[in-house]
């Protein structure tokens, strides 16, 4: 297989696997930048996947080919509402944020499977009839070399994800809102002194992470899984969390890490067909994201500082 063919088979699949991770990791960046650790990303993805699939199955006759887009939008809203559980626990009730995140993961999976059994009478839903399909992007697909690599047989959601990452960077680093959000995560008391409502800021940040996590889960469900069951989201949320850290709590860094993890996943999917890689056991590629995250955190790949107030509830008047 020629080099170009290899690229042509890897890149679209890498983009395809990355999109859900990018969305969710962005959510993680927003939450953690405001000082709220979000181990619950996995649960938020589960919630998004469930809502995306159920909405799609229920309304596909009403909305036709627009269904997947409306489904992911609804999943965003439900994700934001669902994340309020985490926000209330960790911001208002001063719960341990890691524990609260663990509860979110349990709760989402329990509710999702419970409701699936309730509504569909079995452990998994039917396959959706209106998933996202890959398309050729008009005009751009005709560009020689680049066209077949990046614009042929591509899921539009991948590009939406990348656009969101840039939007997230703009919001966090170029707007007053982003500055406030980050200041709350670095030094909440100073932010409070300057008239920023720390708790409200954190609620907003957690809800953004809920919306983006729900979006990520729904996109995963409607591009990759096509149905919902207990085994739909298995670790993608934690992989997104890894991308947050690997990307040093920066939207574009998280996107880069998510793209890399998507690339690693695509290699483990199609690796057997690629010369050089066919003899590498798939397990090495499967565990690559996790091992790399450990190495990154250990400082072998550049040291990153987490937001300073990450994980600490803010109690007014204490210091």
């Amino acid at each position: 297989m020629a080099f170009f063919d290899v690229l042509q088979s890897i890149i679209p699949i890498a983009l395809f696997y990355s999109a859900p991770l990018i969305f969710t990791a962005l959510g993680g960046v927003f939450s953690e930048r405001s000082g709220v650790v979000n181990i619950g990303l996995e649960g938020l993805m589960v919630a998004g996947a469930f809502v995306g699939i159920v909405f799609n199955l229920t309304f596909d006759e009403t909305f036709g080919s627009a269904t997947p887009w409306i489904s992911i939008f609804v999943a965003m809203i439900v994700g934001a509402i669902f994340s309020l559980v985490h926000a209330v626990a960790s911001v208002s009730f001063r719960a341990d944020q890691v524990v609260s995140g663990v509860a979110i993961n349990f709760l989402a999976l329990g509710l999702g499977v419970f409701l699936t059994k309730q509504w569909y009478g079995k452990g998994q839903t039917d396959m959706v009839d209106e998933p996202f399909y890959s398309t050729d992007i008009p005009i751009l697909a005709d560009i020689p070399i680049l066209g077949p690599l990046f614009f042929n047989g591509i899921y539009v959601t991948s590009y939406v994800a990348i656009a969101f990452a840039f939007l997230g960077w703009f919001v966090l680093y170029k707007t007053p809102f982003g500055l406030r959000l980050r200041s709350v995560g670095e030094h909440p008391m100073a932010a409070d002194t300057n008239g920023i409502n720390v708790n409200r800021m954190r609620y907003i940040a957690v809800m953004i992470s809920g919306a983006l996590g729900g979006l990520g889960g729904a996109v995963f469900a409607l591009t990759i899984a096509f149905n919902f069951s207990q085994a739909t989201i298995v670790g993608q949320g934690f992989m997104s969390l890894a991308a947050v850290i690997f990307g040093k709590w920066h939207p574009l860094g998280a996107m880069g890490a998510a793209l890399f993890f998507g690339f690693a996943q695509s290699l483990s999917v199609i690796g057997s067909g690629i010369p050089l890689l066919e003899n590498v056991p798939a397990v090495y590629l499967t565990i690559a994201p996790y091992v790399l995250t450990i190495l990154a955190l250990a400082g072998f790949i550049g040291r990153a500082e987490a937001p300073k107030a990450n994980g600490q509830p803010y109690i007014k008047g204490s210091r």
Partner: protein, 348 residues
């Protein structure tokens, strides 16, 4: 005013009650009879010798994972990696149990020790990184979980078998299974592990409360800087507590490998024993005695739930929701304390 000790007892009890209440409300909303639902759950856990044996069997690994996480907690560490430590412990015990021939008095302890060592190794990595480089153990242990899952699957498929889906059955001489316990409980899979689990609980209690080493571990958990100033080696204590915590979680894997199943299948997803252990430890207030009680409660909920679909048509996942809410309420104990104090004041 309530004393702190009373709170530590009241908060878990209120959390469990609130969780069960929420479960009842969910059942009502979906048109089930909550009384029937919970009776089905009760009967599923205690209704016959068989069910009771299965409940105790489920309690066994929960005691281990709960102790593992509680132990780390007391030293100020959050071991989310019990799940991975269970998996490597399971694999190590089954490997030793199947690959060697030896009299039981050597073989069984060897298989158990292998599980503890494998778990300890899986705890050592995050412990070392935390102690030497200050890397947060939560993230490392999460990553170690996935590495454990995928590597053990690959080892089962490609090293221990020829593309098989599960390992060989362990030899009789490495088995924890017990004929008389099984006969006593209507041929449930109850095994000798429960005795080991109770012994482990005693060991953790003794180590933490009665030894100098335990005092140091707790001291480091309470205030690292003060401990450092008092001349304790904080780094070594962190590594030690992660190693012990991992070893105990590894033993939970041995319970599954040598007791319940006698082999290890490839896992497409986590066993959840480690994650449920977080709930057990939290509910048990991170002390050994509390963990045993909490493990019992979760064993009852999990095994009892299996009876709910047949006896009351309630999906068994309802219990997962109840458990999630219990964790949520325990985590939010601040608000429970606040409410209790408020009531107390108004009552005056």
């Amino acid at each position: 005013m309530f004393s702190n000790k009373t709170f530590n007892l009241i908060v878990p009890i209120i959390s469990v009650l609130l969780g069960l209440l929420a479960g009842a409300i969910i059942m009502l909303v979906f048109g089930y009879n909550p009384v029937e639902g919970y009776i089905a759950l009760w009967n599923g856990a205690f209704g016959s010798n068989y069910f009771f044996g299965e409940t105790i069997r489920q309690v066994t690994p929960y005691i281990f994972t709960g102790l593992s996480i509680a132990f780390a907690f007391r030293a100020g560490l959050f071991n989310i990696g019990a799940e991975g430590q269970v998996i490597v412990g399971w694999l190590a015990s089954v490997w030793v149990g199947a690959a060697f021939d030896a009299p039981m008095i050597i073989h069984l302890p060897l298989a158990i020790i292998a599980a503890a060592l494998a778990g300890a190794l899986w705890g050592f990595v995050p412990g070392l990184l935390k102690a030497k480089l200050g890397v947060h153990e939560v993230i490392i242990t999460i990553m170690m979980n996935y590495i454990a899952l995928h590597v053990s699957n690959a080892l089962i498929r490609d090293v221990l078998t020829d593309s098989g889906d599960s390992t060989d059955q362990i030899k009789e001489s490495a088995s924890l299974a017990s004929n008389w316990l099984m006969e006593l409980t209507g041929y449930s899979r109850l095994h000798y592990g429960i005795i080991l689990a109770l012994f482990a609980a005693f060991f953790v209690w003794f180590l933490l409360e009665k030894t100098t080493r335990g005092y140091e571990l707790r001291s480091v958990g309470y205030n690292q800087h003060a401990s450092e100033y008092a001349g304790m080696n904080v780094g070594r204590n962190i590594i030690l507590s992660m190693v012990i915590s991992g070893g105990i979680a590894g033993l939970a894997g041995a319970m599954e490998g040598l007791g319940t199943f006698g082999y290890m299948p490839t896992h497409s997803a986590f066993t959840n024993l480690g994650f449920d252990g977080i709930a057990v430890a939290l509910l048990g207030g991170n002390n050994a005695f509390g963990v045993v009680i909490a493990a019992f409660l979760f064993g009852v909920l999990k095994i009892g739930a299996l009876n709910m679909p047949t006896a009351a048509e309630v999906p068994s996942e309802l219990v997962e929701i109840v458990i999630a809410l219990i964790i949520f309420f325990v985590a939010s104990s601040y608000i429970i304390r606040w409410t209790l104090l408020k009531f107390k004041k108004e009552g005056k």
